[in-house]
């Protein structure tokens, strides 16, 4: 396994460097082949490892790579850890990444900067792999920041657009707020455990559960505050409520990026971190309570926004945010395996939805506004069926008693059931919020499908389409297509769609027994709560069917509003304009943060500079002295130009005095 894991992790890095350094004038196919090839090799090597853990023939191991830092009692090295948890992430990351690389051959075909794009994609994959193979918190932080860098670069890939540059900065800086928590968490952990090794921390954590520690003048349970700090880091990366504002804006990046980074892999790093540290979090009840509340709140909050957005990618982005909320509250109630299961299935169907959306956008000449779609079912049938599978997966179609369902059915239902089974007030509240969010999920997902693939074409309203057919709506007259003919995407984009469709349909069915009920599969790589799993299976039937019921309700609602009676949404908006405005404007988080953080930062900066540095320090300091000198001698000029000699003289006199002093 040693050679394989080294190849899996470092091939993408190598490919990225080669692709990045290759001459700009060389044909881009070179950079594309080398990065895509590397990723397919990595993916091919990852699956056997995962399957070996699945059938129990592999054991966890750590492959040392290089010494990193040793400072006093603090020491951490570069090493690659492979266990069940890592193996799951390896297949998720490498499979989706390889498919996204392939997809980009088609999607980015006309872009002049393709080598740069592929180099960034591979760099991202490397950083993500370093994150999931980390054996200590600092290497995890390295991966954490590395994926942040790649995300920054890819969001800003089309850097000529001002919005892309702004979104890139926002993503990085908001994540840094989370990193503040993560870093303080690492420092605190080191202070308490005198190590950053994850294995050693997890072993020592239970013994620390009763201790208290001072933090910013407060006296808190040690494990609670450490876990809360680390969780703040997870909130940033996984776009949880309060630190979520960067994720929708990150949709400025090319769509393959959204699929890989902002849906399937990077944003799930927070969930991964929680699961990796699950034995530690289990010693911190207050921290887990916060995790549950934040997760449940995010899953509801993001779902509401998803119902109102027009941009196809933004709908899916809020959907991602919402699904991450499910994963967090599953972890919060102690079902880390369920959280990982949802992460696993979500990676397939959400990547599918994003790549499908990319295929639609590709067909619609880069139009992303669903108001200008419609009737695309017949034009791009393959994309339609892929999106349909993705939608059925995310909405969780499946029947408990038949034992069949799409991927999302297995994992999302498990999340809801386990929250109910946990039985505390907070967990039951999470269950209800999760059910409401599932209703909203079904509504916005079908809304997306109906607006895009059903109804009459509304293409001519789109400026992008007008540019391509050289007609305005007036010129087009009755023909709402404007004479535009959407084309199905090239084969490079369709292959990933087909493969991910298989995942979205089958990933839940096939892997549910291992992920949910097999303690030996997990092999202590996470905290596996056997009793909770039994309780989960024993919840009443109405709980088990609640997700299916709301899924049908959501479908019906969307059908009513966008197919049967298309005038309904406008009426609803007219009836409660304030509610629509509030939700449509994303609960005004951006405006709020702009007022309380961004604007004051610039204001204080100007005040400190103009009033502090110039107005006070300089005025009474050097300028004041100059003024006094000028007043008393009227000879500033000579002082200023002669300062060098004065200085040398004073130094010399000083030295003579010093020598005399010593000699006497």
């Amino acid at each position: 396994m040693q050679t394989q894991i080294l190849l899996i992790v470092f091939l993408p890095l190598l490919a990225s460097i080669v692709a990045g350094l290759v001459n700009k004038n060389a044909p881009s196919v070179f950079a594309k082949s080398i990065t895509t090839g590397a990723l397919f090799v990595s993916a091919a090597l990852s699956w056997p490892i995962f399957l070996a853990f699945l059938n129990g023939s592999a054991i966890a191991e750590v492959v040392p790579v290089l010494k990193w830092v040793e400072s006093g009692s603090m020491s951490f090295d570069w090493a690659l850890r492979v266990d069940t948890l890592t193996a799951i992430m390896l297949v998720v990351i490498n499979s989706v990444s390889a498919l996204v690389h392939l997809y980009s051959w088609g999607y980015m075909e006309e872009d002049p900067d393709q080598p740069r794009f592929f180099a960034y994609l591979s760099l991202f994959t490397f950083a993500m792999l370093m994150l999931v193979t980390a054996d200590n918190l600092v290497q995890m932080f390295f991966g954490w920041e590395g994926v942040g860098l790649a995300s920054y670069l890819l969001i800003g890939f089309w850097f000529k657009k001002p919005t892309a540059g702004a979104a890139a900065i926002k993503a990085f800086v908001v994540n840094r707020v989370g990193d503040l928590g993560f870093m303080l968490g690492i420092f605190g952990t080191f202070l308490v455990f005198q190590t950053t090794s994850i294995t050693e921390i997890l072993e020592a954590a239970p013994a620390m559960s009763g201790t208290t520690i001072g933090f910013l003048g407060m006296r808190l349970y040690t494990m609670d505050i450490l876990c809360i700090l680390l969780f703040v880091g997870a909130m940033g990366k996984s776009a949880q409520l309060f630190l979520h504002t960067w994720l929708p804006d990150a949709m400025e990046g090319p769509t393959p990026v959204s699929a890989l980074i902002h849906a399937a892999t990077m944003v799930t790093a927070g969930v991964f971190m929680l699961c990796r540290l699950s034995p530690m979090f289990e010693t911190a009840p207050a921290a887990l309570m916060i995790v549950t509340v934040v997760g449940a709140a995010t899953c509801f909050f993001a779902a509401t926004i998803g119902t109102t957005q027009w941009d196809i990618k933004r709908v899916i982005a809020y959907s991602t945010c919402s699904q991450l909320g499910y994963m967090f509250f599953a972890a919060g109630v102690g079902a880390y395996n369920v959280a990982m299961f949802h992460l696993f299935t979500h990676a397939f169907f959400k990547a599918l939805l994003f790549l499908g959306a990319g295929s639609v956008i590709h067909a619609m000449h880069h139009e992303q506004d669903m108001r200008y779609y419609g009737g695309l079912r017949k034009q791009i049938p393959l994309t339609f069926y892929a999106m349909l599978a993705g939608t059925l997966a995310i909405t969780g179609l499946g029947v408990y008693h038949l034992g069949v369902g799409f991927a999302g059915f297995w994992s999302k239902d498990a999340v809801l059931e386990v929250a109910f089974a946990r039985g505390t007030e907070i967990s039951v509240m999470s269950f209800w919020l999760g059910v409401i969010a599932a209703l909203l999920t079904s509504f916005y997902s079908w809304r997306l499908m109906f607006l895009t693939f059903w109804g009459k074409p509304r293409w001519i309203e789109s400026e992008h389409i007008q540019h391509s057919v050289h007609k305005t709506p007036e010129e087009a007259g009755e023909d709402t297509t404007g004479g535009y003919h959407p084309h199905e995407s090239p084969i490079a984009m369709l292959i990933p769609l087909v493969l991910l469709t298989v995942g979205a349909i089958a990933a839940g069915q096939v892997f549910a027994p291992s992920f949910l009920d097999d303690a030996t599969f997990w092999a202590s790589s996470i905290f596996y709560n056997e009793n909770l799993m039994h309780a989960m299976h024993a919840v009443p039937y109405w709980v088990k069917y609640s997700a299916l019921v709301v899924m049908i309700l959501g479908f019906a609602g969307a059908y009513l509003a966008y197919i049967a009676k298309p005038e309904l949404p406008a009426k609803f908006v007219a009836a409660v304009p304030w509610l629509h405005r509030f939700v449509y404007n994303k609960w005004y988080f951006d405006e709020l943060y702009d007022r309380i953080f961004v604007k004051p930062a610039f204001w204080f900066g100007r005040q400190f500079w103009k009033l502090g540095d110039i107005g006070t320090i300089d005025r009474f300091g050097p300028n004041g002295i100059a003024w006094v000198v000028e007043r008393s001698s009227g000879a500033t000029k000579s002082i200023q130009s002669g300062y060098l000699y004065t200085y040398a003289l004073i130094m010399l006199l000083g030295l003579i005095a010093a020598i005399t002093w010593v000699l006497l």
Binding site: E145, F159, L191, G612, I625
Partner: protein, 515 residues
């Protein structure tokens, strides 16, 4: 290496080069200066290779008694070695950076840089208090000249400010030095580092040295000379100012204040913490609103140096090593950032951020290097600055969560102002025709950037090369000051254990039969 006076040789080579430069014209002076600095760098590599890790604390010692109480005594420990390496590494890059941009009085300019190199090596190698003082103060004279003669339009004001602050500090330090030598009866630095001054004396001595070192750092509120000096200095001047001169303050704290006045350092740590916390937030916010690239980077330097001071006074190994690593990393990275400014200043002759934009299009390689150094500056793991910042903050956390919290906000603000700068320079559309027409870097600029980039990554991925030589010296310093360490605010306390797992639930079999 036995007996070969390598440190003196390392000073004589640039000195000879300086004299030659003074007597030769433009093109020749450039060649001589480059050859001399490269030769010195080669000697530096030799020095490092022969430095015995785990050997005696002071190595390569040379000593000539000049007269009683004053000796020409040189010698280095790991800390000095690293700072000397930083200086001799940056010097050839400075010469290259000035290759085409300096056209008046080239001989004198090159001589000034070479003199400065002599003095910088001297200051880190001096083992005699007064010898140190001479190098410490005289090192600033070439800097004054570089700013005052080859600087920008407002160079006189900038060098005047620089002079005024420095003078104030050095007078106090000199008086303190007299007193120390009188009390201890020796001017030998290694001896003084073990000498125990009594408590009251330590207090005043500490403050006197503090006056000088705080200005050199520079610490808030005596930092305002730095932005002006940077803005007015030519590119290479800024590189050496940020890269080496700013390290004098930190070196002073680590060589003098902490080991010689440990008790006073412990008592006054709160003051250092307070000033550092203010500096991190205040100067980061000021950096955010700058229009001038050099000013922005200068303010960011103040914020980074505040982290150095705070972590030095954390009184633990991580803090001390972190401070050293930040100094080395910052020396490279901010030097490189000033080079980045220089590259485009040479083309467009403005430092105004808004005059640029979209440089990723016409200068892709430049944009790549600029990005790397931007990321290093905000402490991305895998680059030099991360190792330093991480250790420093981990060290600070162990003594005060408040100070650690405030200083760590610097990672948010730092990302803010640096990425905002990068966005305005390299991203966006090409709004200015002349900026859009600038050619990408040439071979000379490539070599400067690539050299620094390689070391930045080396230091980030395998910092052991740099930590190992300093380890024993830091440990010795830590042992010396440990007893004076201020109390920490974490105070981990035992308590009764809580339930084993937060989500432990019982599951009874009969529940399965409920439906």
């Amino acid at each position: 290496m036995d007996g070969f006076p390598i440190l003196t040789t390392m000073m004589l080579v640039p000195l000879a080069g300086a004299i030659l430069c003074l007597f030769s014209g433009g093109a020749a002076a450039r060649g001589i200066a480059l050859a001399a600095t490269l030769a010195t760098f080669a000697l530096g590599v030799l020095l490092w290779m022969n430095f015995e890790i785990g050997g005696p604390q002071w190595q390569f010692t040379e000593r000539a008694e000049l007269f009683e109480g004053f000796a020409y005594a040189l010698g280095i420990d790991g800390i000095s070695l690293m700072l000397i390496m930083l200086s001799v590494f940056l010097m050839p890059i400075c010469i290259l950076a000035s290759w085409t941009s300096i056209n008046k009085r080239v001989g004198e300019y090159m001589a000034a840089f070479l003199f400065m190199e002599v003095l910088m090596i001297g200051v880190f190698a001096a083992q005699d208090l007064f010898l140190f003082y001479i190098f410490f103060e005289a090192g600033l004279i070439p800097m004054y000249l570089i700013i005052g003669v080859w600087g920008g339009d407002n160079r006189i004001y900038a060098s005047y400010k620089f002079f005024l602050y420095t003078l104030f500090g050095s007078v106090l330090m000199l008086i303190a030095m007299f007193w120390m030598v009188g009390a201890a009866g020796t001017s030998d630095i290694p001896t003084l580092m073990q000498y125990n001054f009594d408590g009251d004396a330590q207090f005043w001595l500490f403050l006197a040295f503090f006056a000088s070192f705080a200005v050199k750092m520079p610490m808030w509120p005596v930092h305002t000379w730095l932005p002006d000096a940077h803005v007015q200095a030519p590119t290479a001047g800024s590189v050496i100012l940020a890269g080496v001169l700013l390290k004098l303050g930190g070196y002073g704290f680590i060589r003098f204040s902490l080991p010689m006045f440990p008790e006073a350092s412990g008592e006054l740590a709160w003051m250092i913490f307070a000033l550092s916390m203010v500096a991190v937030v205040y100067t980061s916010l000021v950096a955010l609103v700058q229009h001038d690239m050099k000013k922005l980077i200068a303010y960011s330097s103040v914020a980074h140096m505040a982290l150095v001071t705070a972590s030095l006074f954390a009184f633990n190994v991580q803090g001390l090593e972190g401070a050293m690593m930040i100094m080395l990393g910052h020396g490279l990275v901010s030097g490189a950032l000033f080079l980045c400014v220089g590259v485009i200043y040479d083309r467009l002759h403005t430092r105004e951020i808004s005059r640029y934009g979209g440089l990723s299009i016409n200068m892709p390689y430049y944009a790549t290097f600029f990005l790397l150094f931007t990321m290093a500056s905000i402490g991305l793991p895998g680059t030099s600055n991360f190792v330093g910042e991480f250790l420093a903050l981990a060290g600070i956390y162990q003594v005060s969560t408040w100070v650690a919290f405030v200083c760590t906000t610097g990672i948010i603000l730092g990302a803010g102002y640096m990425l905002y700068l990068y966005r305005r320079v390299a991203f966006g559309a090409q709004n200015n025709e002349d900026a859009a027409a600038m050619p990408d870097m040439d071979a000379r600029e490539w070599s400067m950037m690539a050299a620094i980039a390689a070391v930045v990554l080396w230091m980030g991925v395998y910092p052991e090369s740099f930590l190992a030589p300093m380890r024993a010296d830091i440990a010795a310093l830590d042992a010396r000051i440990a007893s004076a360490a201020p109390a920490d605010d974490s105070q981990l306390a035992d308590g009764p254990a809580r339930e084993r797992a937060a989500n432990a639930i019982t599951f009874e079999a009969h529940e399965r039969g409920d439906h």
